[in-house]
Subunit: 511 residues, 2 copies
């Protein structure tokens, strides 16, 4: 543990040290204690405390909780030493893996690559995970925006805006999905009357590796990243309802997932074709193009949570319609999707599935588990569903306890389900029997983007991923207004045919 | 009401219209309905709903509440017409009021200026209120910052950073206060070991009108703005405890307020002198300087909530020590401070006090009222205190019901106490018998900076005043870190003597 401890120490130093220490005289050296005074679980704080906090937030007049007082009274001092930060690159080395790409893509079910985790595979898993994370980071959740439910950026700016150009991929198209009427309310909708779409949500993208990355990884890699969309608490109601046939055999999958994947309507602007049709059209086009050039081509489908379920449906369909294409799925915290026959068909078609699962995350155990809102905990609600729905593929099992960056107790249950938590743990995973690796590459601060998982000593605020003034800006007259979206980032129909239809009809609002 | 309705309509149009309407075909004209579907009071949502919302926030996976669904299903369309916004200046005209300055400053107790409210006086009240608001807007609340409890900007940049240069004042010095040990935890403290100060908080500033503004208002105006500091829920415990003598007569004031105003300690860096001594030294210096130049000089002291209480103590002391100086207090939502003898002495010394009070705000009724955390409501806790503590001066009474911009029901109780709500209502106040004025000047969006008071149709997010990514920025190595504060904005001791002492002693940390 010594090396891990000093590594963290080192990272804290690099990340946090001010260039000039304003308090040179009172600087002290002290080793990093591991979470002696964690914050209380917000869900377990009593009502009065929570109320007091909300009051003080409202007033800009902050009170101090008991736990905060304990923290304050303890004497934490940090030693900040590494001024230039050369030892904490945010990127790991990019080895040429072209001669091993089939193994890393799962042709042998990742045999002997998972435990211990091969560093080349780790890097690939993180890459796909960051594509899945992009679908959250770029999504417009603002219900007062006329673009609520869309991607905030156009396809050609997405990776630029999110700092993901390092992976060497280019977005080729977006995928939209609509919710069928008999499915629970799974989509985001604007409160406004005039919106970019009343029915559809941005659900992900298709991207393709560029020349340089293709040389490094040994083939032209098409990636599909699917966005997750709803709180797990809403799923079970639908998931316990029904399995629905898929394909021509005994395979069945969960009705809600399939509905989201296949629903379309001529009355919409973005789902005249379904998510299924959109993604398959784009993938087929790319496969034909690059195969036509004589290139090796692979398809990798990724997603977190519900997005992982959609990834599996997408892989099933792609395998059925593009024989011979190497297809793998890398899913994070995904629930079960179908029955045993579905799993068997997936196997038989040669789809390779790597399921990254966190021991403390309950979602991969759904269906079969319910989030009990009134008790604020997860419960098994039936033992029988375990036998109906089944998981598919190889598993990389993570344990939150392995990371010394994460709080040891009183952690928000849902923090274990966050994709950034997964990516942090993949980054530090060496093997099921060893401790966190001593030279993790990803920025630990990312873990706290939308939760409160990091130990306080790291000084990273919880839920820090937020837009300045919730997007309001001062206009020329000194007033705070919602700025218009950059015209380039305004969603437009996916095909020229649709654009033409729209122009002729005068917009979806009339339909 | 027709004119008010069309005015709001007009303002919405100006503030919100995108320069190019992306949906020209589906634009519709519709009058603004007045809040037909308000959001539910967050405090009244049932537990399951609140939990679901917190879950979905955590997951970036948003669910929809019942009320949101109703809002969405109703067909709100806005007509955005005024493209240039020339009709919605954020600033009102600046009349020359030099020949009326004594009346506006309260020499005749604002007789015949309050109801109806004289427009010149309205503008002056808003000006002082914006100075008080600046003490909140610039305060560092971040408990992971080593500068927690300080002002985020140096005195010479404060107004620039907050967009307050329009008032024509210059900050001359900052005021710091420390909390006495037997007073409840009223101050913000950093969780870190190395901090700018372990004992003190920034409590406000002294500023002075520049040449141009002095000509307009007929005298050199020294303003002191005091910051409020704690949630009202914490006050009563202290406030019911004891009154303490002030001055040489029968006058008594609340112990906690007086303690905050007068406490000092040699062991601190910023409170070797008390807030009282700091402010009086600065004010005396300025009065002497400008009187020495033969100028007319006035002192105006302002503050909101607890800051209003400190303003009154400050006025009492200033009147006692600088005879003949015209002194007035403009307070917003301030609690009672002292007994009847205190009020009488204030009168006799010629201090003029204008108390701006919102009918729905309970804080001005404190002491005598308690915030009951377990019941989430305010209660009278004793009738007797009404007779012990008493208010001082003239009153401008506002009514939240007067503003068509504010929600009619289900409003957060504490939203009524926010200073921005006060300033909005002053801006629209004509008289106690007339409706909201049809040409209000202040930006209504400001109301929602830290609460949820505006009707949904205005499309202003609630609690929108927030820093991008909670202050984290990506460093050159791609890591998210707390940036160092600009050296110019790092707090430094208030006098050269103190700076010298600090250098000789090696910092307060040793004491």
């Amino acid at each position: 543990m010594e090396s891990v401890s000093s590594t963290i120490h080192h990272h804290i130093a690099t990340a946090l040290r001010p260039a000039t220490n304003p308090f040179p005289k009172i600087r002290a050296r002290q080793q990093l204690p591991v979470d002696p005074h964690p914050n209380p679980d917000p869900q377990k704080m009593n009502r009065a405390t929570r109320l007091a906090e909300s009051l003080s937030n409202l007033l800009h007049l902050h009170t101090e909780t008991h736990a905060q007082k304990i923290v304050r009274q303890s004497n934490w001092n940090f030693h900040f030493d590494d001024e230039d930060g050369h030892n904490t690159p945010a990127m790991s080395p990019k080895e040429n893996i072209s001669d091993k790409w089939r193994e890393i893509h799962g042709c042998c079910d990742w045999h002997s690559l998972l435990d211990p985790l091969h560093p080349w595979l780790r890097k690939e898993i993180v890459k796909y995970g960051e594509f899945a994370q992009a679908t959250y980071d770029a999504f417009d959740f603002d219900s007062f925006s006329e673009f609520c439910g869309s991607c905030r950026y156009s396809p050609n700016r997405l990776f630029d805006k999110l700092g993901l150009t390092k992976h060497g991929y280019t977005v080729s198209n977006y995928i939209y999905a609509m919710s069928h009427v008999d499915v629970p309310q799974w989509l985001e909708r604007s409160r406004l009357g005039e919106t970019w779409s009343k029915d559809s949500n941005w659900m992900g993208f298709v991207a393709v590796s560029d020349e340089e990355e293709s040389r490094r990884i040994g083939r032209r890699d098409i990636v599909v990243a699917w966005r997750g969309t709803v709180a797990p608490s809403e799923w079970y109601e639908d998931m316990q309802r029904k399995l629905e046939p898929i394909g021509h055999g005994e395979a069945k999958v969960e009705h809600g997932f399939l509905s989201l994947y296949t629903t379309k309507s001529d009355a919409t602007r973005y789902n005249k074709s379904s998510a299924s049709e959109q993604v398959m059209e784009e993938v087929k086009k790319l496969v034909e193009m690059y195969k036509g050039r004589g290139e090796e081509v692979s398809l990798t489908i990724t997603g977190h949570s519900l997005g992982g379920a959609l990834a599996l449906l997408n892989a099933y369909e792609a395998a059925a319609s593009i024989p011979g294409l190497p297809i793998s799925v890398v899913s994070f915290g995904a629930p079960r999707v179908g029955n045993i026959a579905f799993r068997d068909e997936i196997y038989q078609m040669g789809v390779k599935t790597l399921r990254v699962v966190l021991k403390q995350d309950v979602v991969p155990r759904m269906p079969g588990i319910v989030f009990n809102e009134s008790l604020q905990m997860f419960d098994d609600f039936t033992g029988t569903l375990e036998w109906v729905y089944t998981h598919v593929g190889a598993e990389l099992k993570l344990d939150a306890q392995s990371s010394p960056y994460l709080k040891r107790k009183n952690i928000d249950l849902l923090g274990f389900h966050m994709l950034e938590t997964y990516l942090h743990l993949v980054d530090g995973f060496l093997s099921s029997t060893s401790t966190f690796r001593s030279n993790p590459r990803r920025d630990f601060a990312l873990v706290n983007k939308s939760c409160d998982m990091l130990v306080d000593e790291l000084r990273i605020p919880h839920c820090w991923y937020q837009i300045e003034n919730k997007g309001l800006v001062r206009n020329a007259h000194g007033r705070w207004v919602k700025p218009k979206r950059d015209p380039e980032d305004i969603p437009s129909p996916t095909t020229m045919e649709e654009a033409h239809t729209l122009i002729c009809k005068g917009g979806e609002g009339k339909s």
